[in-house]
Symmetry: C2
Subunit: 307 residues, 2 copies
């Protein structure tokens, strides 16, 4: 059963509940809760599990970084400012004490480096190594930015370069927190997501939540050298990596073409911004391949359009 | 390696960090973060893992309840009002879809019943069933109540009855949220904790964090009928269950003797309150057994005092 299906299942349960203080609920990168004093708490929880998000034998330093950075990246997707994190660590009984200490130190170090110090947690034995990190952020005056605000005529932009993160970047990526806050202050960003599932899937998340269509220009997609390395000399394979690998943790966002022009020209805090497509009014999802042919964009790839 | 040791390890890492907005950090039931608008966010994360917190084959409804109730119980320990929870669910690949749906529904239902609606989460495959719930609460005007405020001369009180929760109550207990808020409004509670590790261990947590001594009067400890049932006719065994089993999720708290008198006389929201001991100035931890002999209180039991 897919995560998406379960999320929709919970969303349906929630439909009857009136929660006036909940600005953003299940289904976005993070929840936004308005508190009585006026603060807007941005909350997200994310886990990394052995065998799924990292291989057995991965150094605890890499596991700790990834666990914290993934949650903080969800705050970035809302242009929220990180405040703190909590971590729950599940380890097999008999886990080496030195491993446990190194993992705890890694969680602490990552949390401080990412401006979200670790303030609490839970440590327990269980069926295997699973680290769950919950991040609390604060919505800025220009945020939070959700997945659902994309408008017809918007440009689709992305930071950095995509694909091939399994070569190692998925364990070491810097979440684009400062970049997101800077972007939100400089431009009117209509919708944003961090690329975890892959460009194709995450762009469809924006499209579906915003009830718009998208046309992706494949020739413009910034392909990471890791994707090229994996593809050997095959340009189409490299493109597929950029489109579908995921775990890039770059920002994918929609904004007016005028704002996009500025963002593309100047980048954001030294990170390049690339315009890769356009939002349309009708809910069709297209990709134009480098050879000029138009195909249906699917989660995880594309299909020939039926004519 | 014990959880306690790792917590002290992280606390030591934190020692150099100046976090003026952090009212309560690692080592209490929950963290308390002051937000720019003046709200005080009370945050706690807790996991339940298969084989550790519940047996394989436990119905998902029980797993979901326990996962949410444990985190909410940590809010109760601070006399905080629950606002919302997030849940991260790790399941073995190939987990039955119906099981997954029932678990998600249980998490949702428990969250609503406990006034902390589920607003976000993460679902992923991993080495086994692990459910991590993070709860956000708000500190009341009389809270948050920490573990570290017990004063010499205080009475030690407990709600409900203790011991034998493994007979089933550990999966079905009602966290004492409303009771904690009511208590904090009616009395000046100096220190509080929810009993998860067991009365002996959790009382020592309060004593150590408050830098005080305790004298527990074993004859007064309210022994649950589940503890008696486990002990057969053996009164000392029943007492041991009440003292050391844990997972009672009752409130253990310290307050002036005058305030304690009122609490004991009236109970709290229908739940009985029992006075079970006294706080002393010197950091010695004693238990007076029903036969009148005095012993050293230890985490998980007692030892004959060396004379």
């Amino acid at each position: 059963m897919a995560e998406r299906e379960l999320i929709e299942f919970i969303r349906a349960l929630r439909a009857g509940q009136d929660l006036p203080w909940l600005e953003v609920g299940i289904g976005d990168d993070a929840a936004v809760a308005r508190l009585p004093g006026g603060d807007r708490a941005v909350l997200t929880t994310d886990m990394v599990a052995e065998g799924t998000h990292f291989e057995p034998g991965t150094p605890p330093e890499a596991v700790g970084w990834k666990a914290v950075a993934r949650s903080v990246s969800d705050l970035a997707a809302m242009a929220a400012r990180p405040r703190c994190v909590l971590a729950a660590v599940c380890m097999k009984p008999g886990t080496d004490a030195e491993f446990a200490r190194r993992l705890c130190r890694a969680l602490w170090d990552a949390s401080v480096k990412l401006s979200a110090p670790l303030v609490g947690g839970d440590i327990s034995s269980g069926p295997g190594l699973v680290v769950t990190v919950t991040a609390l952020g604060l919505a800025g005056s220009s945020g939070p930015i959700t997945r659902s605000g994309a408008q017809a005529g918007d440009a689709i932009c992305v930071t950095g370069a995509l694909g091939g993160s399994m070569r190692g970047r998925h364990l070491t990526f810097p979440p684009r927190v400062a970049e997101a806050v800077e972007l939100a202050e400089r431009c009117h960003v209509h919708a944003m997501i961090d690329i975890s599932d892959g460009l194709s899937t995450d762009l469809l998340h924006i499209a579906q939540e915003s009830k718009v269509g998208v046309a992706l220009d494949a020739a413009r997609i910034p392909v990471h050298e890791d994707a090229r390395a994996l593809a050997g000399g095959d340009a189409e394979k490299a493109l597929e990596h950029a489109l579908n690998d995921g775990e890039d943790y770059e920002l994918l966002f929609c904004l007016s073409k005028k704002d996009a022009e500025v963002a593309v020209q100047s980048g954001v805090l030294g990170v390049p911004v690339t315009l890769i497509g356009e939002v349309g009014a009708s809910p069709t999802y297209n990709i134009i391949l480098p050879d000029g042919t138009r195909h249906a964009l699917r989660s995880g790839g594309w299909e020939h359009l039926k004519t």
